[in-house]
Amino acid sequence: MSLSAHIVIQRGALPVDVTFEVQPGEVLAVLGPNGAGKSTVLRVLAGLARPHFGQVRLDGTTLDDPAAGIRLPPHRRPIGMVFQDHLLFPHLSTVDNVAFGLRARGASRESARAVAAGWVARMNLSDHSSSKPRSLSGGQAQRIALARALAGDPRLLLLDEPLSALDARTKLDVRADLRHHLADYAGATVLVTHDPVDAMALADQLVVVERGRVVQVGTPVDVSRRPRTDYVARLVGLSLLAGMAQGRSVVLDSGATVQVAEASSGPVFVAIRPAAVGLYRSRPDGSPRNVWPATVAGVTPYGETLRVDLDGQVPLTADVTPEAAAELDLVLGAGVWASVKASEVAAYPA
């Protein structure tokens, strides 16, 4: 039940060209900024958009191969899909929405209903099983959309931000449930998400797509530890710098030098955790080997700490406590000194 896809398609002004593989039972998360082409990729996998070039194979069966004139229509694909805007059928009740796929695949009305009712119960919406989608809240609708896609026991599951409208509590439950289901699930899953936590929790493999191209592939831990683009770095909460390593120092494009923990050479990326960055009003004298001047470009509360964006030769993000921020007088444009211990700085080949 492995999926291999090479998809080339033009969407408006955006050329999309991505390649990936998903092994049986594996979950692939597709991350990327808005408009990167994530939903487009899912639509191609579902058969709803025609690729211009490439090949999609599931389980040895070719789903798409424009060059050979092959295209399996959507309803013949053994898939389940959750759409970004749910698209629950407005004229069917909740339980009939869930039963739809079962009926379409040949189940009798009674058995489809029974299975669907089970799914609705699993989503904690039995009270709403005979309501129309119009009277569901946003999150309720998304849970039903998820149930509808899962109920058909698909071999390829396509999820377009399945958890984004869920409240924090339900999200935990549905995420755990989804994880549970995905663990038992023999098929391949492609999950589009914005939430790195979702990706970490659910995915075995990550593909980062930007402007229609794959910019990074790897396990969630790999990607989160060693981001290769600014977008990914922000996503996982790191500052990313690019430079040339010479032993244990890295010269950035801006000319500044960063001392790192381990020696290497050639082009590298340097990743720094915001919590590891210390801020001072005057140049500190101490053990940290990396000390740079910077100006405050933005301050945003982040949980109980404040996240400070810094401009300068070494653009960084720092996390500070509200008390420290008050003491440092971190207004926009204020000048500060930033310091990071060399042992906190990871460098890896670019």
Binding site: A46, L48, H75, L87, F89, P90
Partner: protein, 270 residues
């Protein structure tokens, strides 16, 4: 203060004047002639008119044939509307234009065309007659055919409009759930455009009920088998215009009753 708001509230829950005035004009224009008819109608003779078996037969025939014509139009016309709105078939433009033909053809000419096609000596009718001895004209079947020919385009055009206005992404969703085009059509598309289909069916039924020219030309005019209420009205016009008005009002009353009942049922779902 409260008073000012009150006024605004009323203004808003009501209908804006820019819409209300033309709407009211439309109603007056459509209803005034009816009122004039009602005033003029020979109410005293209505009872005796209605009790003639001829009129009762004609009324029954009208309703049965118009309903059958609507049924056939639904069965054949809704798929045709779908093909026009959704498929990528070549020559859809030509097809759509051809479908509108019976709308424009003077009904009597439409009747002639039907005779030329399905009559005893018609393109399709002649071989049929030679082979089986069956011929359509002068039968109730011919009435239904004539009404279908004239009324189906109304259904097709309004359903096509509704299909085009419908959100096609629901059909995508159905496809990912394993529903083929036919099932998607039946279980998703059709319910979504139900109001449009209902509107089309109403138009179709009403047009069939009022049909005259094609019916008399293709089906003839024989009491009990092909004389519909409209034909009865036209005959009455020759000798007793007041009776004709009375008969029309009967036709009206029946159709308003039928439509009123049906539409309420259909529209409640929405």
């Amino acid at each position: 203060m409260a008073r000012r708001h009150k006024a605004q509230v009323d203004g808003a829950t009501g209908v804006p004047a820019a819409l209300l005035i033309p709407a009211a004009l439309a109603v007056v224009f459509l209803v005034l002639p009816l009122i004039a008819l009602l005033v003029r109608a020979p109410w005293s003779t209505l009872g005796s008119l209605l009790s003639t078996p001829e009129v009762r037969d004609a009324l029954r025939l009208s309703i049965v044939s118009a309903s059958l014509a609507t049924l056939i139009s639904l069965v054949l016309g809704v798929p045709l509307a779908w093909v026009l709105a959704r498929s990528q078939i070549r020559g859809r433009g030509v097809l759509r234009a051809l479908v509108t033909v019976p709308l424009v053809l003077p009904p009597v000419v439409g009747g002639v065309a039907l005779l030329l096609a399905f009559g005893r000596t018609g393109v399709l009718g002649a071989p049929l007659y030679d082979a089986t001895g069956v011929s359509f004209p002068f039968t109730t079947t011919a009435v239904v055919l004539a009404q279908t020919f004239v009324a189906m385009p109304f259904l097709v055009i309004s359903v096509e409009g509704a299909l085009r206005a419908a959100d096609r992404r629901y059909e995508d969703a159905a496809a990912t759930l394993g529903a083929g085009r036919a099932m998607t059509f039946r279980r998703v598309t059709l319910p979504l455009v139900a109001p449009g289909v209902a509107a089309g069916a109403v138009l179709c039924w009403a047009r069939a009920l009022g049909e005259f020219g094609a019916t008399i030309t293709f089906a003839g005019n024989f009491p009990g088998t092909t004389r519909t209420m409209t034909l009865q009205v036209y005959l009455a016009l020759e000798t007793d215009p007041d009776a004709a008005i009375a008969l029309s009002l009967v036709l009206l009353a029946v159709s308003i009753l039928t439509l009123g009942l049906l539409r309420d049922r259909w529209l409640v779902r929405q």
